[in-house]
């Protein structure tokens, strides 16, 4: 954990991240430490490893039978994918920004830092979506 803190401080010193981002990362590391330190006990809840999406839809009017979607994605895979976004060249981001702006979506992709996405995935384990309608049941959760 100390090694990770040192890396954050080095990134701050190198000017790769702002002081605010460094503070947020160190806070996240502190939370991590709090969650993992009591984890040595047998009764502690282990951290989720997978994002699960389950959809079960009843038989459609066309009589094609029921539909079922069961997707399990390792959270580590999401993290690895997020790291890849840092490789997107800035000129590609500015072109994507221009296209988004032209379509009426005012999102600045250059402001979307991998650290922010990392933080988003870090908190995915607390996400639970449960939709139960007459036609379908949708569940999104981490396990």
């Amino acid at each position: 954990m100390n090694e990770q803190r040192r890396q954050v401080l080095e990134m701050l010193a190198a000017g790769k991240i702002t002081a605010e981002e460094a503070e947020r990362l160190i806070d996240a590391l502190g939370r991590d430490q709090l969650q993992t330190s009591p984890g040595t006990g047998s009764g502690a809840k282990s951290r989720p490893r997978y994002l699960r999406v389950m959809v079960v839809a009843d038989e459609d009017p066309a009589g094609e039978g029921s539909s079922r979607i069961n997707v399990r994605v390792p959270l580590q895979l999401l993290r690895a994918g997020v790291r890849l976004t840092s490789l997107v060249p800035p000129q590609a981001l500015s072109r994507a920004n221009a296209e988004l702006h032209r379509s009426g979506v005012n999102i600045d992709l250059t402001q979307l830092k991998p650290q922010h996405l990392d933080e988003l995935i870090e908190h995915l384990d607390e996400l639970t979506v449960d939709i139960d309608s007459a036609e379908a049941k949708v569940q999104v959760f981490c396990e």
């Binding site: 490893r49 997978y50 094609e64 039978g65 029921s66 539909s67 079922r68 979607i69 069961n70 997707v71 399990r72 994605v73 390792p74 580590q76 895979l77 993290r79 690895a80 994918g81 790291r83 890849l84 840092s86 490789l87 060249p89 590609a92």
Partner: protein
């Protein structure tokens, strides 16, 4: 851990599942000349688009390393598709 076994399955019209078990390591070894070409092509693309080669290689490696445990299963009526990486 790198993926060891990829299972690709689909349900036929008669309702029975057809599964194909693909051992990753032997297939990678057999296709290694083609993979080498693909890696070279990727590295050239990195140079053209000014992307860090080391970053791209480590990113793809991390992605492959994280694949085990992935599972996609979609079934609609009598048709169905399954992709699982172990």
């Amino acid at each position: 851990m790198i993926p060891q076994l990829v299972t690709v399955g689909w349900r036929r019209r008669d309702g029975r599942w057809f599964r194909l078990y693909i051992p990753v390591l032997p297939v990678v070894l057999v296709l290694s000349p083609l993979l080498l070409l693909a890696v070279l092509g990727g590295l050239i693309a990195c140079v053209i688009f000014k992307v860090s080669m080391v970053g791209a290689l480590s990113g793809v490696g991390r992605l492959v390393w994280a694949l085990p445990g992935t599972r996609f299963e979609i079934a609609e009526g009598r048709m169905g598709v399954l992709v699982s990486v172990r």
